[in-house]
Amino acid sequence: MPADAAMAMDERVKTEPFLARLMKRPELGAIGGVILVTIFFLATADSSMFTLSGIMNFLTPAAQLGILGIAAAMLMIGGEFDLSIGSMVAFAGMIFGVLTVNLGLPLILSIPATFVFAALVGAVNGLIVIRSGLPSFIVTLAGLFILRGASLVGLKLFTGGSTQLRGVREAVEGDMLTPLFSGDAFGFFFTWLADIGLIEKFRSGTPKVPGIPVEILWFVLVALVATYVLLRTARGNWIFAAGGDRNAASNSGVPVDKVKIALFMATACAAALVAIITVIDSGSTDARRGFMKEFEAIITAVIGGCLLTGGYGSAIGAFFGAIIFGMVTIGLTYTSFDQDWFQVFLGGMLLIAVLFNNAIRKRVTGER
């Protein structure tokens, strides 16, 4: 029909330019933040911060936090919080340490077992939140203390009184899965880069940057998977819907309870992944592992554009939020500033991010 054709044309004319659509993305604030922070450190920090080794230096903590932050972002988009993820890192670290050191299990058993434990705890968190209807904030605040305490008690029980469990490195030495969770990847590539003179070498001939720390690869992988799920699958729409208006979502046939419980499980598993990586890396686990990470993860998600009320946000945003975090944490050591400015800086970033994201979101959603 000519009328229909005319309308289709009309629609095409109305299509927004690519840039305008880009301006509406929730991760815009975080990307802008990365640029601002980069400019700040380019101006103030020692030039070695932006060499390859300097970049690896701040991406490593960013990666560990980012894995948690992306999971926290997805959960937040789904309308819930998990304050127990920091403690979950310690708890999963304890479970993993005991399985590998005390029981002497190979990684191929201890890693899946750690994930199963974590997923169970996440499912319990989720079930309590769903069944009781209580805010997840309160339920997981209890989890924060319970898991932290349980890690402490558990560690003392299995080590005979110490709050640190050592010997992980020895236990995993030579395990075929170890390279997946610790050390540097693509070493041959970096050796080659050094050989052709693209990156610096130590006097011994080894490259100054031996490879990409594996946690950075995990970080990128988690960001890609999360973004794929959120934007390209039906599950992603369900997460947005469940967090935006749970009644509307369940009226539309979205299995809201399942979506939320799955998100809690995924968040706990992200904590377990961070636990496994950091425990293998340091060769020991202790009860303070992951301390305060729950808040840092939430900050990451919020800087990344997530709305505290749910239904809005992005995994890519959290990815960049974590990079901002890493740059600020490490970057101050490259400057002449007192490092204790770190928290002031971070709080300031959070505030700016929230104000900025709020303004963008209002433009996008047409709220007044």
């Binding site: 229909d4 309308m7 289709a8 009309d10 629609e11 109305k14 927004e16 934007l231 390209r232 699958t233 039906a234 992603g236 729409n237 369900w238 947005f240 819907a241 935006g244 208006d245 009644n247 509307a248 979502a249 369940s250 009226n251 539309s252 046939g253 979205v254 239904g311 809005y312 996008v364 959603t365 047409g366 709220e367």
Partner: protein, 259 residues
Amino acid sequence: MTRPLVELIDIEKHFGGIRAVDRVSLDLWPGEVVGVLGHNGAGKSCLMRILSGAMTPSAGEIRVNGSPASFSSPNDARAAGIETIYQTLALADHLDAAANLFLGRELKTRFGNLDDARMLAEARTVLARLNPNFKNLRDPVSSLSGGQRQVIAIARAIYFDTKILIMDEPTAALGPSETAMVADLIRQLRDEGIGIFLVSHDMHDVFELCDRVVVMNKGRLVGAHAIHEVSKDDVLSLIVKGELPADWSARNLMAEAAQ
């Protein structure tokens, strides 16, 4: 040979000692708009929730096209062709019109990804049929007007081959011109053979749109009348007192007798 789209037979719903719905029987025929009226708490929402699968009845039977059905979730009812449009225009605010239209029943590509292009095209077609002025399909629905949101809700209903539509106060949140648009849509859907339960407090809408009215009072069905049998006062009396005025006789018969 026509038969009712849906029959509710002796439906009961108890909450503790309270009978929210007390042995109610009701049917709906193709191409018919039935107004469901009653005070707040009269049980009409409860009855509609039972039919939409959001609540399970304590006793009674539901038949769809003559065969018994039992719904344990809204998805069951939806699979039987019963769609509900809620008063609050409940949509997922941060998703766009196409995502809302297909929420829970997303179209996928061969690889299991969301087929955004096809969903957008389908949404464009179905929304254009309902309201040619609907253009901003890519915006989050929170930025749309109440009328546009209602159009999306109705589009959800008709896209998925609905036979029975439950509309809970469809015009309560709308302005006058949007109300008129929704009224036109209701007539359009009725003419296509869809049966509609219209839950409403708006007597004007009811008399404008409905073929029959049923009135609930304290959980019981106190009256079921063809619309031309009753006046607004008769219906008000049923709503308030639970019975017709003492001197009532069918309005259309009176009119015939007077001639």
